[in-house]
């Protein structure tokens, strides 16, 4: 039972952290709860579908379908997170100043939310399908002895959700002055970590060269199966044995999104300066 709880916890944690950050980042947008719930439900439904068709997906692209699928899901999530962060750089200050503004801003806020709904759905989809495969495998093979294992799975899900909620509650305590900066930074690092993971899947499928693998090895110092290692892996993409290509993807994503945020922010700053002069 304990083993099952740990396995499911590991799978759920990553999605829970994504949802926790996004729920906090969208705190000032009206009706976000419904959007997040819709993303979660769509992700769960998708997980079941992906689990059922795991064989077919895996067999696609001469046996490399799973890698292409995962890299694709991660790639879309990175684009959505990038879009959100860049959009927030130009509108975030207004949203923070007056949480309930006139129609236009709310409509814009909704558009940004629908993007984040997709990210939530994708995060649940990727981790959820593996959890479904694991749990149905137990139910199928252990027969009547599967009860405690499935109970362990439930414990794992609850523990993962608790971490996500803790992160969310903690972020809400950040003073408003730093709040959008903090969530923006978390989303930025989340996206960079996902880009690095996408690179790893493409390396595993032999579609990308690894360039120096591993580039360094900190697994003795901070193993990725330790609690802190797992948390940092989900939060900022920590990898104890990264391939050079993963670092290239990480830095490219980081630079591209930060650059976009800087550009989106510039006109507003210029206007402010003009206004005070």
């Amino acid at each position: 039972m304990f083993a099952a709880a740990v396995i499911v916890f590991r799978e759920v944690l990553e999605a829970a952290i994504v949802i926790g950050i996004i729920a906090a980042a969208t705190r000032s947008v009206p009706a976000r709860g419904r959007w997040l719930a819709a993303g979660l439900l769509a992700g769960l439904a998708g997980s079941a579908l992906v689990a059922v068709f795991a064989d077919a997906i895996g067999a696609m692209a001469s046996g490399l379908g799973q890698e292409l699928f995962n890299a694709g899901v991660l790639g879309i999530a990175v684009l959505m997170l990038a879009w959100h962060n860049i959009w927030m750089s130009s509108h975030g200050a207004a949203l923070a100043a007056e949480a309930r503004t006139v129609g236009g801003d709310i409509r814009d806020g909704r558009r940004s939310l629908s993007i984040l709904l997709v990210v939530v759905g994708l995060a649940v989809l990727r981790e959820g399908s593996e959890t479904v495969l694991f749990l149905t495998g137990i139910a199928a093979s252990e027969g009547s002895g599967s009860g405690p294992m499935l109970l362990g799975g439930l414990v794992g899900i609850l523990a993962g959700a608790a971490v996500g909620y803790g992160l969310y509650a903690g972020l809400l305590r950040v003073p408003m002055r730093w709040f959008f900066g903090a969530t923006g930074l978390l989303v930025l690092l989340l996206a960079a970590g996902m880009a690095s993971q996408a690179a790893l899947f493409l390396i595993q499928a032999a579609l990308l060269p690894s360039l120096a693998a591993p580039l360094w090895d900190t697994s003795a110092l901070l193993p990725v199966n330790s609690v802190l290692g797992m948390l940092l892996h989900s939060l900022v993409g920590y990898d104890p044995r990264p391939a050079g290509m993963q670092i290239v993807f990480y830095i490219l994503a980081l630079a591209a999104i930060a650059g976009g945020m800087g550009l989106a922010n510039r006109p507003r700053r210029a206007n402010l300066r003009k206004g005070t002069a």
Partner: protein, 105 residues
């Protein structure tokens, strides 16, 4: 996008032809062979055949690989190029029995 995927597939099938292939079988939540020797310094193709009904997740920290192998299904994983040494792996879903090591020489 389709053309891009096609290109990727074309590149990968080109790579498939060149890399030496090795077979791992999962039966009763155990890997056979439990010790597999592969050449060092070149990329290697690993085919994993799961004869059990339950899905398994092939995982190795040192190889830096993780992949689901569906029940009664098979999966393909590229590893390396490895420097000579021992690289333990395990099945995450049945960690107690599903263990093995890849030896690169």
């Amino acid at each position: 996008m389709k053309r891009f995927l096609f290109l990727l597939t074309a590149i990968s099938t080109g790579a498939l032809a060149a890399d030496p292939e090795f077979l791992l079988v999962i039966r009763d939540h155990r890997f056979q062979p439990a010790e597999l020797t592969v050449p060092a310094g070149t990329r290697v193709k690993l085919r994993i055949e799961n004869q059990d009904a339950a899905a398994e997740e092939f995982e190795s920290y040192t190889l830096h690989r993780e992949k689901i192998v569906p029940g009664k299904g098979s999966a393909l994983i590229f590893i390396g190029p490895l420097s000579p040494g021992r690289y333990p792996f395990f099945g995450e879903f049945h960690e107690k029995t599903a263990e093995g090591v890849i030896i690169a020489k």
